[in-house]
């Protein structure tokens, strides 16, 4: 059983997701229809997993993601989005979300994703893998003194397979690796992406003199 919070501005979706999760035996500890409500209810309900729609009427889902994870780093955020706006999805992942699912996914896929995200696993769609590959490619093509981590060849290879719709099981069989190893590699790519995001922010702060305290 996983303690879940559902944040979505469409009541139709909020109810459907809540029903599916409860039917699967999960505990929906809170629901919210916008960023303000989500932030108000998050601390008291202490969910393990937040199922979050990116298109919220007030805050952007990206902001909500980083605020929640700042408050409780052990929480997991699973993005559930209808339109798949590319830039937003990548930003939410950089901000610390560990899963991404489009709304057309079936109930079974959603429940599976919630369980996996709660276990610390990452849930990728092919589209998200393509975006992450693109992001690392941009880092690779950028200035040579960029301190941000690159993907290893193996990580790139696995991410490419995820981006062409292969399951971890298929990837494990094709590369003769264990399922667990494939999972670790995918998790590492996200960890690097999120770490790189922090490096970038720190560097930006230094460049703008924000690291110097009052003299």
């Amino acid at each position: 059983m996983v303690r879940v919070m559902v944040v979505d501005d469409h009541p139709m979706w909020r109810d459907a997701v809540e029903r599916d999760l409860q039917a699967a035996g999960h505990d929906v500890v809170a629901v919210a229809s916008n960023g303000r409500e989500a932030m108000a209810r998050f601390p008291a309900s202490a969910p393990q997993v937040v199922v979050l729609d990116l298109q919220l009427p007030d805050h952007s889902g990206v902001q909500v993601t980083s605020m929640m994870l700042e408050h409780d780093p052990t929480a997991r955020v699973l993005i559930l989005s209808a339109s798949g706006e590319q830039a937003d999805v990548l930003e939410a992942i950089k901000a610390g979300a560990t899963g991404y699912l489009v709304k057309s996914a079936s109930s079974a896929e959603l429940i599976d994703a919630v369980t996996r995200v709660a276990d610390g696993d990452t849930v990728f769609t092919p589209g998200l893998a393509g975006l992450v590959l693109g992001e690392f490619r941009r880092i690779a093509d950028g200035p040579a003194d960029d301190p941000r981590d690159q993907l290893t060849e193996r990580e790139t290879e696995i991410l490419k397979m995820v981006a062409t719709g292969m399951s971890y099981k298929q990837i494990a069989a094709r590369l003769v690796l264990s399922h667990r190893t494939v999972q670790n590699h995918v998790q590492n790519t996200l960890r690097k992406l999120q770490m790189n995001n922090r490096v970038q922010l720190t560097r930006w702060a230094i460049e703008h003199g924000l690291d110097e305290g009052p003299a």
């Binding site: 469409h10 139709m12 979706w13 459907a16 298109q55 209808a82 339109s83 798949g84 590319q86 830039a87 990548l90 489009v102 709304k103 057309s104 079936s106 109930s107 092919p126 589209g127 893998a129 393509g130 975006l131 590959l133 693109g134 992001e135 490619r137 941009r138 690779a140 093509d141 490419k160 981006a163 062409t164 719709g165 292969m166 298929q170 069989a173 094709r174």
Partner: protein, 378 residues
């Protein structure tokens, strides 16, 4: 029409600024006029009248600055009076000074009225005022020296040119306004479209989900909703990159999305995010090769097969991977087909990519078939 209102506003704003600048010019030429007449006070036959005229011109300058400041007061009558005062001051010069005078009493002070006419009636106003001032300057003179000719010539050239520039400035302000409004309208349309699309996508996704759960005829409805949802999502992504098409370069990611959406095989396209701008020929050939890969999936991988397309872009090359979840190609079958002269796949995929200087490789296994097309960027 409400849309016409801001147009005139922006043109008026330019006019306001020009008149504000002219007010400064008027102060400068007035100081100059007062100074010169004081310096030449011994040249006057009627010094008292001259003093009265100079004082009158100074008073009028103050009045003119105040009058021109308000749009409502900038009437043709004001401009006519402004110029009439200039012409009158010039006309009385031979009597006040002496018939063989050198400089007129107003001197360069004439610029105030001249520029006002140029601002108000553009090049025509500038020209008419310049001709009248030139005539008033030349006619009373018994002889015209090089200096007089030079001044008149500059006025005749300058009046219309300044008028023309004022018209251009106002037109540019109107055009800039129109462009800004168009951009704001487009942005608003995009924002509204996003809201509408998001709503439609939510409903389509929900229909698909409920349909699949209900089964039977509802499942078919759900499947149709799913198809529409994928098309719409792909369309939105393409739309995001449309304006970036420039200079013979085309967005490869958008072109792949468009082709995949139209293709009968169920395809999911993954892109690096944003536009991938590549030479138009490279895009059309690469897309054609990917289409051939998908045609191949339709022909060999069976009805239930799905395909995935992944586009990657580096500084030096682009890579497109196409995978299907069909049963795979038995080893050597492609080679055998080539030997037998059935070169369809080879020429339409490999041929195109090799012509672009790239490579096309194919792998097959229990996980399906995967083509990897790599094309160098010149």
């Amino acid at each position: 029409m409400p849309a016409a209102q801001p147009r005139t506003d922006s043109a008026f704003a330019v006019e306001d600024r020009l008149y504000a600048a002219l007010a400064l010019v008027r102060v400068v030429v007035t100081l100059n006029m007062v100074g010169l007449n004081a310096y030449r006070r011994d040249n006057f036959d009627h010094p008292t009248v001259a003093l009265a005229i100079v004082v009158a011109l100074v008073v009028w300058t103050g009045a003119a600055i105040w009058l021109y400041h308000d749009r409502a007061r900038r009437t043709p009558a004001l401009l006519l009076v402004d110029l009439a005062i200039v012409l009158a001051a010039m006309a009385v010069t031979p009597w006040v000074k002496s018939p063989d005078f050198n400089a007129t009493i107003p001197g360069f002070w004439v610029m105030g009225a001249l520029l006002a006419w140029a601002i108000h009636w553009h090049w025509r106003g500038g020209l008419v005022a310049a001709v009248l001032i030139a005539a008033a300057d030349l006619l009373p003179r018994s002889e015209v020296d090089q200096g007089n000719y030079g001044n008149v010539f500059l006025i005749l050239i300058g009046g219309p040119i300044v008028g023309f520039m004022c018209a251009s400035l106002q037109r540019m302000a109107r055009e800039r306004d129109a462009a800004e409004r168009a951009a704001a309208a487009a942005e608003e349309r995009t924002r509204l479209a996003r809201a509408v699309h998001d709503g439609v996508l939510q409903v389509l996704a929900m229909t698909q989900r409920r349909g699949a759960a209900a089964g039977g005829e509802w499942a078919e409805l759900g499947r149709l909703a799913g198809e529409q949802e994928r098309s719409l999502r792909s369309l939105i992504r393409q739309q995001d990159t449309v304006p970036q098409v420039a200079g013979g370069r085309v967005d490869l990611a958008g072109a792949l999305e468009a082709m995949a959406t139209a293709h009968p095989v169920r395809v999911e396209v993954a892109t690096p995010g944003g536009a991938v701008l590549v030479d138009a020929h490279v895009v059309s050939e690469t897309v054609a090769a990917v289409r051939a890969c998908l045609d191949n999936v339709a022909a060999h991988a069976g009805d239930g097969a799905s395909a995935w397309v992944l586009a990657q872009a580096g500084r030096d090359e682009i890579t497109v991977s196409v995978r299907d979840d069909g049963p795979g190609i038995t080893p050597g079958r492609l080679g055998q087909a080539a030997v037998e002269g059935r070169l369809g796949v080879v020429s339409s995929i490999t041929g195109r990519i090799e012509e672009l200087g790239g490579t096309a490789t194919v792998q097959s296994g229990s996980w399906g078939t995967e083509w990897e097309l790599t094309v160098p960027l010149a």
